[in-house]
């Protein structure tokens, strides 16, 4: 097998445009306009197509391209962008997102000015500009922030929990979301909104009545803080990782929601004990995991599992996988341990 060589550092971290698209395209009723050559839209559509099929989703997002060609590069593409926004608005979506690419940034098109011309529908400009705007993570954060900024006044009725910043390109995205939902249901809490996964634009004001925001990962803390300032909503900094981490997640969520979490924690602890008993055959095995060495959340998880299952972690042990992102909750650990057993006994 040949591995494609990749450089290290931020060069590796992907395109800002893809990061923003992974958010904007999760509005089922929106249109996203990509201001750039058709290749940028095609590359991303192909990625979403593959992701949709892996997640058994049969509806692709609406991605419009301004289809910039050689003359557009020479004479500017602002006219094409205006035309694309007009065409998108004609479809009567509740919102049009406009994302720029590195080539239009290079030729100096003023995408923001075209977007603010007073269109019949809300036009939300998310400055991305491909690699000129940063990396995948920057586009992802910028899109979430731009969308959160559109939430307006809080919606009606009692709120629930909002999942913030799900990784929509992740193979296990729904499995991870489902595990958080399962854990919250032990407390009697429900997920009211997924910002942003499979959303309709009209439900965005529900963000304002959220009682608890659960961030996908600690990296999203600035958005958690901003939402706290705007709507007074507390947040948990990440999905639960590890056995103890899952119990702690339940306890913290219960405290924020004003619910007694003791019963939920006890039940989940029983689930964990029962689950671990299924892997008793691994006891005494020698395992090794590159990311399990040293400090960090990954290492802590490997050490925790080694301790409860009586595994020996050393460099000459069987190589076991540790996915990135780390498995979520008790269910994630169960799935991970299936893979470890396959590696150990394989």
């Amino acid at each position: 097998m040949t591995l494609k060589p990749l450089p290290s550092g931020s060069r590796l971290e992907g395109c800002t445009l893809t990061g923003a698209l992974s958010v904007s395209t999760q509005f089922r009723d929106a249109v996203t306009v990509i201001h750039g050559p058709p290749g940028c839209a095609q590359h991303n559509l192909s990625l979403f197509h593959a992701t949709c099929l892996e997640n058994d989703t049969v509806v692709l997002p609406r991605l419009a391209s301004t289809d910039l060609d050689e003359s557009g590069v020479i004479f500017g593409g602002e006219g094409a962008l205006a035309e694309a926004i007009r065409d998108a608005a004609a479809l009567d979506p509740p919102v049009v997102f406009v994302l720029s690419t590195c080539v239009v940034e290079t030729i100096g098109d003023d995408t923001g000015a075209v977007c603010s011309r007073g269109w019949d529908v809300p036009v939300v400009h998310i400055p991305t500009a491909g690699f000129l705007g940063g990396v995948f993570r920057d586009g992802f954060h910028r899109a979430l922030q731009a969308i959160a900024g559109c939430a307006g006044e809080p919606g009606d009725g009692p709120g629930g929990v909002v999942l913030v910043g799900e990784k929509n390109l992740e193979y296990e995205v729904d499995a991870h979301g489902g595990e958080v939902r399962r854990l919250l249901s032990l407390l009697g809490a429900r997920v009211d909104l997924r910002l942003v996964r499979g959303m309709d634009w009209a439900t965005l004001p529900r963000l304002g009545v959220s009682r608890l925001n659960v961030l996908r990962e600690p990296d999203l803390a600035p958005l958690g803080v901003w939402l706290g300032g705007r709507f007074r909503t507390p947040y948990l900094p990440s999905y639960p990782v590890g056995l103890a981490g899952t119990l702690l997640f339940l306890a913290r969520a219960g405290r924020i929601l004003g619910m007694d979490a003791a019963g939920a924690v006890r039940r989940e602890e029983e689930v964990q004990q029962e689950m671990l008993s299924c892997y008793a055959d691994l006891s005494g095995s020698r395992v090794w995991c590159d990311r399990g060495d040293g400090a960090g959340e990954g290492a802590a998880l490997v050490q925790e599992l080694a301790a409860v299952l009586d595994l020996r972690v050393d460099r000459h042990g069987t190589a076991v996988p540790l996915p990135d992102p780390l498995p979520v909750g008790t269910t994630g650990i169960r799935q991970l341990l299936h893979r470890w057993r396959r590696a150990i006994h394989g």
């Binding site: 040949t2 591995l3 494609k4 060589p5 450089p7 931020s10 060069r11 590796l12 971290e13 992907g14 395109c15 445009l17 893809t18 750039g36 050559p37 058709p38 290749g39 940028c40 839209a41 095609q42 590359h43 559509l45 192909s46 990625l47 197509h49 593959a50 949709c52 099929l53 892996e54 049969v58 692709l60 609406r62 991605l63 419009a64 391209s65 301004t66 289809d67 910039l68 060609d69 050689e70 003359s71 557009g72 590069v73 593409g77 094409a80 035309e83 694309a84 065409d87 690419t101 590195c102 080539v103 290079t106 030729i107 491909g130 690699f131 000129l132 990396v135």
Partner: protein
């Protein structure tokens, strides 16, 4: 320039990379952003390099970064192809002046200059393959690594050449730099829509009549080539297809069909279906500029255009990519063009040659029968 919703056909840069990555001793560097790198990297099976440019390199020039990447390329690559992308083409980067100690080939094929076939053509032009009159055998062209049928087409073409007592010469592009420079005088194509390499193209292997015609021509041109065994195989394949199609037609009406893909393979599929199954060809949507055909062929490169055609025609059977399958799940489906996502394909499946024709008809008949069963249950 026009607006286009959900474009489905890869850009020129991806086409150039696909052409070049089939040359074993040629390193391919995508000179641009990581966003431009990742898509071709998911399509091509081999090693690809990238400069992964960042903002400061666009502002101050990417020469130093390119030089750094070139220095890291293993020495077993005899030459390095640098493929420009939209931004490096706009900023006027001149990769030729970088990396003086390595043999460079610059391919200027930014995404905005056209579709995949245009990039493939530009790459082939830059490679400038040449004929060596003394080289025996027959070149094969139209092979490119991004094509899900490339391995199958290559094996089938090699098998047919062996059957006729001939050998393959240079394969465009699954070859080495050395062989690019000494191609045989004649070529056969498995996809005439892609630019040929060197050598006079004397036929195509898309469809049984084309295979027969190509090998008859080869028999006249190439010493030692005996088309007889291939012609016999074509005849037997026709009998088998006729028998299977006839049996299908005893119980079912022929399906109406919509076909999407590159022009030549789509027209080939239409000919097969009209000839053997008496199908009505409701529409052909070509990803590239259509070539001549007795069918009406329109250029269709976006998901919205595809959806419009399928909504209008409501065909029983769709040939195309996984995009068409997604848009029209109620129809029987057979994949004939990239991308074919969501299904596992491990074996080398051909579209061209005798086995390609048999495989196409086998897939079509099975898909139609499965659809009939689904509709009954």
């Amino acid at each position: 320039m026009g607006n286009c919703t959900n474009p489905v056909w890869p850009c020129a840069m991806a086409g150039a990379v696909s052409c070049l990555s089939g040359i074993e001793d040629l390193a391919v560097v995508i000179h641009g952003s990581s966003g431009c790198y990742y898509y071709p990297a998911t399509l091509m099976p081999g090693e690809l390099f990238g400069t992964f440019l960042q903002e400061r390199e666009v502002i101050f020039g990417g020469a130093a970064r390119l030089s750094e990447v070139l220095q890291g390329i293993p020495s077993h690559y005899l030459k390095i192809a640098v493929v420009t992308t939209c931004v490096t083409a706009v900023t006027g980067e001149d990769p030729a002046g970088v990396g003086a100690d390595r043999d460079l080939l610059v391919v200027d094929s930014p995404g905005f200059c056209g579709g995949m076939e245009e990039g493939y053509r530009l790459a082939m032009e830059a490679l400038a393959p040449a004929v060596a009159p003394e080289t025996p055998g027959v070149n094969l062209d139209g092979i490119h690594p991004a094509d899900p049928f490339s391995r199958g087409n290559l094996r089938e073409a090699e098998r047919l050449l062996a059957l006729s007592g001939t050998t393959p010469a240079t394969i465009f592009t699954d070859t080495t730099l050395d062989r690019l420079g000494r191609a045989a005088p004649v070529s056969l194509s498995v996809n005439p829509d892609l630019a040929g390499g060197a050598g006079r193209r004397i036929g195509s292997l898309l469809g049984l009549p084309a295979v027969a015609a190509a090998f008859r021509a080869l028999g006249e041109e190439c010493e030692g080539c005996d088309p007889g065994p291939v012609l016999e195989e074509v005849e037997r394949a026709e009998e088998r297809i006729t028998h299977a199609a006839d049996k299908y037609l005893r119980r079912h009406d022929p399906p109406t069909v919509a076909i999407f893909g590159m022009s030549a393979p789509s027209v080939y599929a239409a000919e097969m279906l009209a000839t053997y199954l008496d199908c009505g060809i409701a529409a052909i949507g070509s990803r590239n500029d259509p070539g001549p055909s007795r069918f009406r062929v329109g250029k269709t490169t976006s998901l919205e255009e595809i959806r419009a055609v399928l909504d209008r025609e409501q065909p029983d059977l769709v040939l195309g990519s996984s995009y068409e399958r997604m848009v029209h799940p109620q129809g029987a489906f057979v994949g004939i063009t990239l991308p074919l996502r969501g299904r596992i394909q491990l074996r080398a499946r051909p579209l061209a040659g005798v086995e390609g024709a048999l495989d196409l008809m086998e897939q079509v008949l099975n898909a139609c029968m499965d659809r009939e069963r689904r509709s009954r249950s």
